[in-house]
C-alpha cells in the first residue's frame, strides 16, 4: 500500500479515498498538503498568528471529520479553502459586531454597563507578540492587503498568493465569476493606490 514517498504520486482524491478507508497516514497527508496555504490565507485574513492557527485547526478538524461528505467531482483544495474562508469571514463578522459600538454593548441596560463595555479608543498597547506579528506580516503590501475589505482580501489572496483560477475562486467563495473578477480588479486598484507612494 501507499507508504512514505508514494504519497507524492497520489492525487488528492486518491488520498481522500484512503482516508475514508481508515488510513490515518492519509489524513496526515491531507494536512501536510494544505496546512501551509490554509494557514497563510487565514493569517492574512485575521492578522493574528494564534487565532489563525486556531481557525486552521478548526478548518481541518471540520473537514477531516466530515470527509465522507466530500464530493470527489470537486477539487479538495476548493473544499478546504471554502471551509477556511467561511471560518475567517465568520470570525471577522463576530469581531465586527463586538467592536461596532463606541458606546458599549447593545445588550447593556444601565449607563454603568454601557460604560464598562464601551470601546476604549487608544487603550490597546502593542504587545511584544503584536510586534513580532507586525514584523512577520511586515511590508507595505501586507499592510495594504490588511486594509482591504474581507471579501476583496479573500479574492486577492486566493488569486495572487495561492494562484487559484478565477473559476475556482468563484466556487470557493460561492460568488458569480463576474463578481470575483470585479472584486479582484477593485482590490488591485486599491492596492495600487495604497502602494503608489513607494514609487515616488
Amino acid at each position: 500500500m501507499a507508504e512514505g514517498p508514494e504519497w507524492a504520486r497520489l492525487t488528492d482524491q486518491e488520498v481522500v479515498l484512503l482516508a475514508r478507508g481508515g488510513r490515518e497516514a492519509a489524513y496526515r497527508e491531507l494536512v501536510r498538503r494544505y496546512e501551509r496555504p490554509v494557514f497563510a490565507l487565514l493569517y492574512r485574513m485575521v492578522r493574528d498568528r494564534e487565532l489563525a492557527e486556531d481557525l486552521a485547526q478548526e478548518t481541518f478538524v471540520k473537514a477531516l471529520n466530515a470527509i465522507d461528505s466530500y464530493r470527489p467531482e470537486f477539487k479538495f483544495s476548493s473544499w478546504i479553502f471554502k471551509i477556511a474562508n467561511n471560518a475567517a469571514i465568520d470570525h471577522l463578522r463576530r469581531r465586527e459586531l463586538d467592536t461596532l459600538s463606541l458606546d458599549g454593548s447593545p445588550h447593556a441596560e444601565t449607563p454603568e454597563a454601557m460604560q464598562a463595555t464601551a470601546l476604549q479608543i487608544g487603550a490597546r498597547q502593542e504587545s511584544p507578540l503584536d510586534a513580532v506579528e507586525a514584523k512577520e506580516l511586515g511590508g507595505a503590501i501586507e499592510a495594504a492587503i490588511g486594509r482591504l475589505r474581507p471579501e476583496y482580501r479573500s479574492c486577492i489572496l486566493l488569486r495572487h498568493v495561492e494562484g487559484r483560477a478565477y473559476e475556482e475562486i468563484a466556487e470557493i467563495l460561492d460568488l458569480p465569476l463576474g463578481t470575483v473578477k470585479t472584486y479582484i480588479h477593485r482590490a488591485r486598484n486599491e492596492l495600487r493606490v495604497a502602494l503608489a507612494h513607494l514609487k515616488e
Binding site: 489524513y27 496526515r28 494536512v31 496546512e35 501551509r36 471529520n65 495572487h160 492596492l191
Partner: protein, 202 residues
C-alpha cells in the same frame, strides 16, 4: 477615451498581458499608448510585490494538534477465513470434531450414490407409479368438470344448438365471424395515429 489603435486596455486585457496572452492588435495599442503603458507597469509591479509575499507556515506540531481531534474510522478489511481455520485446528478435540463432520458428509454422499446405483429398478417402478397416479387424478378432474357442466340448467338448450349439421355449421360461422370482428377491432384500437404532414408547395 482612445489612443491610436482602439480604446484603452480593459482590466481583463491587463490580466491577459500579465499572463503573456494579449492579442497582437491590443499589444500594438499598448506599445504606443503612454497611459496604458503606465498602468501596465503599475500592474506588473503589483504582481511582483504579491508574488514576493512571505510564505507562512503554522507551528511544527500543527498536524498532531489536528489529529488529536479527528475521529479516524476503523480500517475496512475483508473478512478472512484464517480465524475460523485457526479455531478449528486449535486443539486435538476440535480437529477430531472437524474431521468427524467431514467424514459424516462424505459417507452420506457415498451411501446415497451407491444405493441409487443398486436400486435402479425400484426407482423406475416408483416413477411409473407416480406417473399413473398423476394421469388418473387429471382424468378424474376433467370428468368432474364435465359432469358439473352437464348438470347446469342451460346445458339442454346449448346442446340442442348442435343437433343438426346445419346448426353446427351456422354456429361455427357465427363464432368465426365474431373472432374476425374481434381481430379487426383490436387492430383498429392498436394502430398508431397518423398525422397529416404539410409539405412545402403542397
Amino acid at each position: 477615451m482612445t489612443a491610436g489603435f482602439g480604446p484603452h486596455l480593459t482590466p481583463d486585457e491587463f490580466d491577459a498581458w500579465l499572463a503573456a496572452g494579449l492579442d497582437s492588435d491590443r499589444a500594438r495599442h499598448l506599445e504606443i499608448c503612454l497611459e496604458c503603458q503606465a498602468r501596465a507597469d503599475a500592474e506588473r509591479a503589483l504582481d511582483e510585490q504579491l508574488a514576493a509575499l512571505q510564505l507562512l507556515s503554522p507551528a511544527p506540531d500543527f498536524a498532531d494538534r489536528v489529529m488529536r481531534h479527528v475521529a479516524v474510522p476503523r480500517p475496512v478489511t475483508i473478512p478472512s477465513m484464517q480465524p475460523a481455520r485457526r479455531r478449528f485446528l486449535a486443539t486435538r478435540r476440535s480437529v477430531a470434531f472437524a474431521a468427524s463432520i467431514a467424514v459424516l458428509l462424505v459417507a452420506s454422499m457415498a451411501t446415497s450414490v451407491i444405493w441409487t446405483l443398486g436400486h435402479q429398478a425400484t426407482l423406475v417402478s416408483i416413477g411409473g407409479w407416480l406417473l399413473t397416479q398423476t394421469g388418473q387424478a387429471g382424468w378424474l378432474a376433467i370428468q368432474g368438470v364435465a359432469s358439473n357442466l352437464i348438470e347446469q340448467p342451460w346445458y339442454g338448450a346449448f346442446r340442442s344448438a348442435f343437433d343438426s349439421p346445419g346448426r353446427i355449421a351456422a354456429a361455427s360461422a357465427l363464432a368465426a365471424a365474431a373472432y374476425l370482428a374481434g381481430i379487426y377491432v383490436l387492430r383498429r384500437l392498436l394502430a398508431l395515429p397518423t398525422q397529416q404532414v404539410a409539405h412545402a408547395g403542397a
